[in-house]
């Protein structure tokens, strides 16, 4: 089970993806047997430079704003097989580099509502849950995808609209909510950047780990606000996320220094705060993030430096890992440069879990939260 998890990029031949029990839907599963979670990241990491970003945005242009036409047309083309549509839809949204996976999923689900031919509320709801299930089973390793789907279903169905007499008005109401939710999720990054500005003071040194779009946005906003600060980037082996981030930051004229991942403790004494993003925020208030976050948080904690997490609220997941091994591992290929004997085992997990006691604050679009509030918000969202 452990070894057969998906998310190989290079080792395509290894095994078939151990998807959820939903075998009837085999064709709609990820055809490449590569973890979509990792694929997306790799794709983004490869190209996420500001020029490319602006180009892409210009190219996608109006679509993200008037996204309505696009999904409808694609749906009508594709025709009857609805379960197939979701993935297609999702992938088409996912191509936009600036769009988070969860938001793409939300957009795709909204499209499902729009294209649905259901005539009763119950039918629509069933269709929607089915679609979200397919999405979730398509990539079981992605936390934000699962969380986004769940949240969307909650947000859309838990409404008085369901008691509307007229089905069409109810449906349009649902659509409205879906659009609104998508918008909120899109704006989340801006809100977080705003909220975090109070914490960045002139002359501070910030340690950043991983390539998080939210953290990049925060630093960008701070630079635009003429704050004077220095950034230390960890290298982020094996993806080189730190290299990418540092080149981004240097374009903004932010003084930046690149560190080896193993040099974190060495340079921690000159650091004033640590900023990390998150793949998922779990119920305990801890985070699941790129490998290395846990050890950075431990070092920071032992040196009494604050650790700030920037995460949108759609990353809040109803998970509760008790320890590092207590979650579905997202495996990744690792290049060591040298030839490694086959007898040597390689730890390939791509992320780790940081318990809440090592985090200081979470910047979310719900506000600046202490880790224990996450569970309160989750309880209110889901129950």
């Amino acid at each position: 089970m452990w070894r057969r998890t998906p998310s190989f990029i290079l080792d395509r031949t290894s095994t078939s993806p151990p998807m959820a029990a939903d075998t009837t839907r085999a064709p709609i599963q990820n055809p490449d047997s590569i973890s979509a979670y990792y694929q997306t990241r790799a794709a983004h990491h490869g190209v996420i430079t500001s020029e490319w970003l602006s180009q892409a945005q210009a190219a996608v242009g109006g679509v993200s704003d008037s996204g309505d036409e696009h999904p409808v047309s694609s749906l009508t083309e594709l025709g009857n097989e609805k379960s197939f549509n979701v993935i297609e839809e999702f992938n088409s949204w996912r191509k936009q580099p600036d769009l988070a996976e969860a938001v793409a999923a939300i957009r795709a689900l909204a499209a499902v509502i729009r294209a649905s031919e259901a005539t009763t509320m119950m039918e629509l709801e069933i269709e929607l849950t089915k679609a979200s299930d397919t999405l979730k089973s398509w990539d079981t390793t992605s936390i934000s995808l699962t969380a986004g789907c769940d949240l969307f279903i909650r947000y859309v169905t838990r409404t008085s609209a369901l008691e509307y007499e007229d089905f069409n008005s109810a449906k349009s109401r649902l659509l409205e909510r879906a659009e609104k939710f998508g918008e909120i999720s899109c704006k989340a990054r801006r809100i977080i950047a705003m909220l975090s500005q109070d914490f960045i003071f002139d002359g501070c040194t910030i340690l950043v780990h991983g390539l998080s779009r939210v953290v990049l946005e925060i630093l960008k906003t701070a630079a635009q606000n003429n704050k004077l600060f220095r950034v230390l980037c960890t290298e982020g082996r094996p993806d080189g996320t730190g290299v990418l981030l540092s080149s981004e930051l240097s374009k903004l004229d932010i003084p930046v220094k690149l560190l080896l991942d193993s040099a974190v403790a060495y340079s921690m004494d000159e650091v004033d705060m640590v900023f990390v993003g998150a793949d998922g925020v779990v119920e305990s208030g801890g985070i699941i993030n790129m490998m290395g976050t846990y050890q950075i948080a431990l070092v920071a904690h032992s040196m009494n430096k604050p650790v700030y997490v920037a995460a949108e609220s759609y990353k809040f997941a109803r998970l509760y890992p008790l320890d590092q091994k207590d979650m579905a591992p997202a495996l990744r290929p690792i290049e060591f440069g040298l030839k490694i004997p086959t007898k040597v085992e390689v730890e390939r997990s791509a992320r780790d879990y940081t318990p809440p006691q090592y985090l200081t604050l979470l910047f979310t679009d719900l506000g600046v939260l202490s880790p224990s509030v996450v569970s309160d918000e989750l309880i209110q969202l889901y129950l």
């Binding site: 705003m194 906003t221 305990s284 224990s372 309880i379 209110q380 129950l383």
Partner: protein, 647 residues
């Protein structure tokens, strides 16, 4: 940029009013001021000065603020004015209300405790240590408001403004009274002081010769005054009014009630001699007190064990007020036949179902209130048999709430059926159903190759282990046990029978065995709102050792056992078991070192039943609302306590 942030500030103006928050406080104080100015009437002979301590004037406040220690002469006129109208009240009531306030001659006795004491006296006695007992007296006060509105000169007039909220009809009266006040002559502060001193002296005298004034005195005085005022009133109403009047008579009545509504009721403190004596007089079960009581735990009941059972058994046919089902359950508690939080709670609820089934409203009584009183008396009997667990307290609160909420329009049989089904639903949803959900959540945390440790014999954990075994998970169980109950052996037996691989050890070996454990599953008697887990004694030790070894500790607890109380230690609320259980080892005649020492004055046996585990040592609490961190317990209490009362 700023403009972006501003709307955010508008979006979440969720102001959660926490704790002693009172918006209306300044208002009420200003009205008090006004009143002082308008009616500067001196104290009359019958008003106890302490009464002025409670600023019961703020009728809007949701939470009572503990009254500040005011110089009594400052606020005196307010109360004095009210009392002035009913100056005819006899000195006996006066001495009653003061007896408690000046036990040591101090002028400003702490209001909370003493006034509560007086409350206990007037209402159903022992059960008042339960949350929610305030209800019957509340109901009394409420219903009294309607008839009272017709009265004009009842002693109810002494009511401070605070009560007006509940007895709105009476406001008319106090208004009238206010109008009449300015007619009285003014006095200086010094004069008022003098009067006060005189009162105090009179009081002391009354106390000296009166000795013990029966609790009913003030109420009876009030009721006589009612009779004088309106002799034509129907008797039931008179009683109700007299209750209300009695409450007001004892200073701070209303504020007390408010407080009662919000704050959990204090437990009986067994080191308070006067009250213990009183409680004993009422008691059905005659318990002999232990001779050598443990010093730090004098506030808990400490009895000789094993003496009451035969006595009670002989009384079985004489006790007509007690329902046989309740009696049976009580005896089972006493003998230890039923133990474990869920089992005790279910047994009690089923007994109550029987009670409801056999209930018929006595003539000229109201089903809601009479039944509540009945239940209260049963509960006090059960407490005598064994102190209630918090879960039982919650269940009783639920039952009483359901009774109080029964629509008046229902016929008796309908009401009974509704109640029975409510109780049934509570058992099914909140206890049995909750366990199912907990099991479902918890098995997701068991992986192949796990070594699970459990302590004692928690039912929820047993269900989890059995279910995980059914799912063909490969795991090993370590059952840790402790003297004197050795409950773990029972669990062990049942696990072995199902073919689960087990290791059994005593708690002494916990530090040795812990390094091979991967998860610790514990049960709980209750989870308090600061995340503290209140559970079988020894649990804290296990949790602490586990957390020192970085082993995750999972606590399985149904949400109906959550309580809004906060507890920091295991001393202030606990239960003491049979001291003989730890002084002797059964089956080991060679260990007789303590023979003949059991009654030695220098030897005290402490057999604690529960302990409190701080939330730091707990990784996760598994409840029927999912898996939550211990910091989220207050959220569940806040969000669902209401719903669970309403079910």
């Amino acid at each position: 940029m700023e403009s972006r942030r501003n709307p955010r500030a508008v979006v979440d103006p969720k102001v959660r009013q926490v704790g002693f928050f009172t918006s209306s406080q300044p208002d009420s104080s200003s009205t008090q001021q006004q009143q002082q100015q308008t009616d500067p009437i001196p104290a009359s002979a019958s008003s106890p000065p302490v009464s002025t301590i409670s600023p019961s004037g703020n009728s809007l406040s949701p939470v009572m603020i503990p009254p500040p220690r005011l110089n009594s002469s400052d606020t005196f006129p307010l109360r004095g004015a009210a009392a002035g109208a009913s100056s005819a009240v006899s000195p006996s009531s006066f001495s009653y209300s003061n007896r408690r306030d000046f036990p040591d001659g101090s002028t400003t006795a702490s209001p909370g405790r003493h006034s509560r004491g007086s409350f206990v006296k007037s209402s159903t006695p022992v059960a008042s240590s339960l949350p929610g007992i305030g209800m019957d007296s509340m109901a009394a006060a409420k219903s009294s408001s309607v008839p009272a509105s017709g009265l004009t000169t009842v002693s109810v007039a002494t009511m401070p403004p605070g009560l007006a909220e509940k007895a709105s009809g009476m406001e008319v009266q106090s208004d009238q009274k206010k109008n009449s006040k300015p007619l009285k002559e003014k006095t200086t502060k010094a004069e008022r002081r003098a009067i006060q001193e005189a009162q105090r002296a009179a009081k002391a005298a009354a106390k000296a010769d009166g000795g013990k004034v029966p609790p009913g005195t003030s109420a009876s005085v009030a009721s006589t005054s009612v009779k004088v005022a309106k002799p034509a009133k129907p008797s039931t109403q008179k009683n109700e009014v007299s209750v209300a009047a009695g409450v007001t008579e004892k200073k701070g009545g209303p504020s007390e009630k408010d407080r009662k509504k919000d704050a959990p009721h204090p437990r009986m403190q067994y080191d308070d001699e006067s009250r213990v004596v009183k409680a004993k007089r009422r008691a059905v079960v005659k318990q002999t007190e232990a001779k050598n009581r443990v010093e730090l735990f004098r506030h808990l009941p400490q009895y000789e064990h094993g003496t009451q059972l035969p006595d009670l058994e002989t009384k079985f046919f004489q006790l007509d007020p007690m329902h046989p089902a309740v009696y049976k359950v009580g005896l089972q508690y006493l003998s230890g036949d039923i133990s474990g939080g869920n089992a005790r709670c279910i047994a009690m609820l089923q007994a109550f179902q029987e009670v409801v089934k056999d209930y018929s409203t006595p003539p000229e009584k109201n089903l809601n209130r009479d039944m509540t009183a009945k239940i209260s008396s049963y509960v006090s009997f059960l407490i005598e048999c064994r102190p209630l667990s918090i879960s039982m307290g919650n269940a009783i609160r639920f039952v009483k709430n359901r009774i109080a909420k029964l629509p008046i329009t229902l016929s008796e049989s309908e009401a009974k059926a509704a109640l029975q089904s409510d109780i049934e639903r509570f058992i099914n949803d909140k206890i049995i159903g909750a366990d199912m959900v907990i099991v479902k959540h918890a098995v997701t945390k068991i992986r192949d190759g796990d070594v699970l440790l459990t302590y004692g014999s928690p039912t929820a954990v047993e269900m989890i282990l059995l279910h995980a075994h059914e799912l063909k998970k490969k795991f090993r169980v370590l059952v840790v046990d402790s003297r004197p109950k050795l409950e773990g052996q029972l669990l062990l037996r049942r696990l072995i029978k199902r073919g689960i691989s087990c290791t059994y050890t005593h708690i002494n070996a916990i530090s040795y065995i812990m390094h091979e454990v991967t998860k610790v599953f514990l049960g709980a008697s209750s989870v308090l709102s600061n995340g503290t887990v209140y559970s079988r004694v020894g649990t804290a030790c296990v949790a602490m050792v586990a957390s020192a070894f970085r082993v995750p500790v999972l606590v399985c607890c149904e949400a109906y056992k959550f309580h809004e109380r906060v507890q920091l230690d295991s001393i202030c609320s606990n239960e003491l078991g049979d001291p003989n259980a730890i002084s002797k080892v059964h089956g080991r005649e060679d260990i007789n070192y303590l023979d003949g020492l059991t009654n030695n004055a220098n030897l005290q046996f402490l057999n604690l039943m529960y302990d409190a585990t701080p939330s730091d040592y707990i990784s996760m609490i598994i409840t029927d609302y999912g898996m939550v961190p211990p910091t989220s317990v207050p959220v569940i209490v806040r969000e669902y306590q209401k719903e669970h009362l309403l079910v």
